[in-house]
């Protein structure tokens, strides 16, 4: 089941991105994405574990690039919110595909008597919860409008960097 879900997630993520890029008038980018999807699928057939993480990186580059292009044209004209939602959706599905591809590779090491279905069910539930929460947080972040000045952004940047450093330190101490 995991393998099927991997391909489904790749297809959905690529489909969303292609849709946005094609409708925005960037067909070349769409063709590049089709090529990337084929390479990713080929990598899965070849059992190249590194391919998924590389593709996740490339997909995120495309998604980030999409935010800088004016993609609200054609059928999506005047709907920047929908474009952003589609791009965030593509990002979430790319993350799911990357995680599930690695999980499928790990499941190949299971013995016939192992409870693979149980492991799959548990992993999918957790992953789904993380993906849904992440997607929801992104949506909230994009829809909530809070006006702040440049000074506030500098302060927030410092707080964020300090917070991340604290989290890393805490996790390192916890795992030691």
């Amino acid at each position: 089941m995991t393998r099927f879900l991997v391909f489904a997630c790749i297809l959905i993520s690529t489909g969303l991105l292609i849709g946005v890029y094609f409708s925005g008038g960037y067909p070349f980018h769409g063709f590049v994405l089709i090529f990337l999807m084929l390479v990713w699928s080929g990598g899965l057939f070849m059992h190249w574990r590194w391919m998924s993480i590389l593709q996740l990186f490339l997909y995120y580059v495309f998604i980030a690039f999409g935010f800088f292009l004016d993609l609200s044209a054609g059928p999506l004209a005047g709907q920047p919110g929908l474009v952003a939602a589609l791009l965030i959706g593509a990002a979430v599905f790319a993350l799911l595909a990357s995680d599930l591809a690695d999980f499928a590779a790990r499941l190949r090491l299971a013995a016939p008597e192992d409870d693979v279905a149980g492991l799959e069910r548990q992993h999918l539930l957790r992953l789904l919860a993380v993906a849904l929460t992440g997607g929801a947080l992104s949506a909230i972040a994009l829809t909530t409008r809070v006006a702040y000045s440049f000074e506030w952004s500098v302060v927030l940047t410092i707080i964020v960097v300090w917070g991340i450093i604290r989290v890393i330190n805490w996790l390192l101490q916890r795992n030691r």
Binding site: Y60, F67, G118, G134, L156, L171
Partner: protein, 424 residues
Amino acid sequence: MSRTFITAFLTYLLILAGLAVLSAPLLALALPLFLYLLVSLWRVPGEIHLQVERRLSTQRILIDDVVKVTLEVTNLGVSLEELLLEDLLPPGLEIVAGSPRRLVRLPSSRSVTWTYSLRGKRGSYALNRLCVTARDTLGLVAVRQLIDTGSQLFVVPPVLRLRRVAIQPRRTRVYSGSIPARQGGPGVEFFDVREYQSGDAPRWINWRVTARHPLALYSNQFEQERVADVGLILDGRRRSNEFGRNSIFEHSVLATAALSEALLNAGNRVGMLFYGRHIVWTYPGYGKLQGERILHDLSRLEPGDSEVFSELYVPRNLFPARSQLVLVSPLISEDYEALVALRTQGYHLLVVSPDPVSFELATMARTEDIMLAARIARLKRIVLFRRLLGVGIQAVDWDTFQPFEKVAKQYLERRLILPRGVRR
């Protein structure tokens, strides 16, 4: 580069880029990744506390026999969401049934037990490493640990049953056995006649001799049969055993195992010396236990080249003077001098030589040149054997395509009357 690093790098990149260009969508894009990373790192298993017990159905098997390995892993620490247990097998072992790996979820204080079957080539295998990989909830971060389980498996060569190996060293030990001791006393075979002594059984009286010498009675003496010291020497030199990718060494090991069994069964004190890359010395001993020791040592021997001894080398202090030596070696022409030197020391030598010519020929295309070369090699070997026989060394040429039992029955069961050769 690990998935954790790439994911963290991507998250950082998006956050920093979003803050640098003041782009809300980029920051929003980082959120799912950040959450994914956070959940993974949150549930990284800290230290793994596992207790592993390994059980082997037997610690010693013959080649082609199967051993069952049972592993029981108990989690003494925190619950592990995804645990990969991998029994690391040394090369040379083959899995017959089951799997040496398990992928499980192992809650605290619970255990998992599984069994798989192995067989292997001759050798001594350390089955002592279980690789444990525990992952976090989402499988992003792995904590790996090697657990020592301390087991060893010996795959020993098959022991062919030989009825008897006829040897007659000059020196025997005091215990009774089956080797003629060249001394009169209780026994079976006629040895000599001496004047009657009180205690001699009347049926031992030799009436013919007594009739010729009417002043006294004469009785028969029999040859005592005792046990002897036997030194088995196994040649593990690469130059005499290996021909390209093929090695005749396994045949030498087979013959050594069979000979040691037969000699020990006859009550002899048997030791074994192996020389190849290193010298391995199995101290002499009697009985089944010694047979096991020799088999264990045989299981871990591999041919190799010694940095010190390029020629046949037998440390004489290991074997008592005038004892019986049995050399198992494919032999090369240069060995002649070393064997004669041993003979001059008074050792009785028996050479069992797996035939390297026919062995190597079987792996080659039979062209005219190769057949001519094989003929020359065979003639050289015949000459070497005749020269050895000339100095009183019995050499048995074993065509490895013949069963060793058959060759042993033909050449080793009966005592060969050898020329005196070199006398001491």
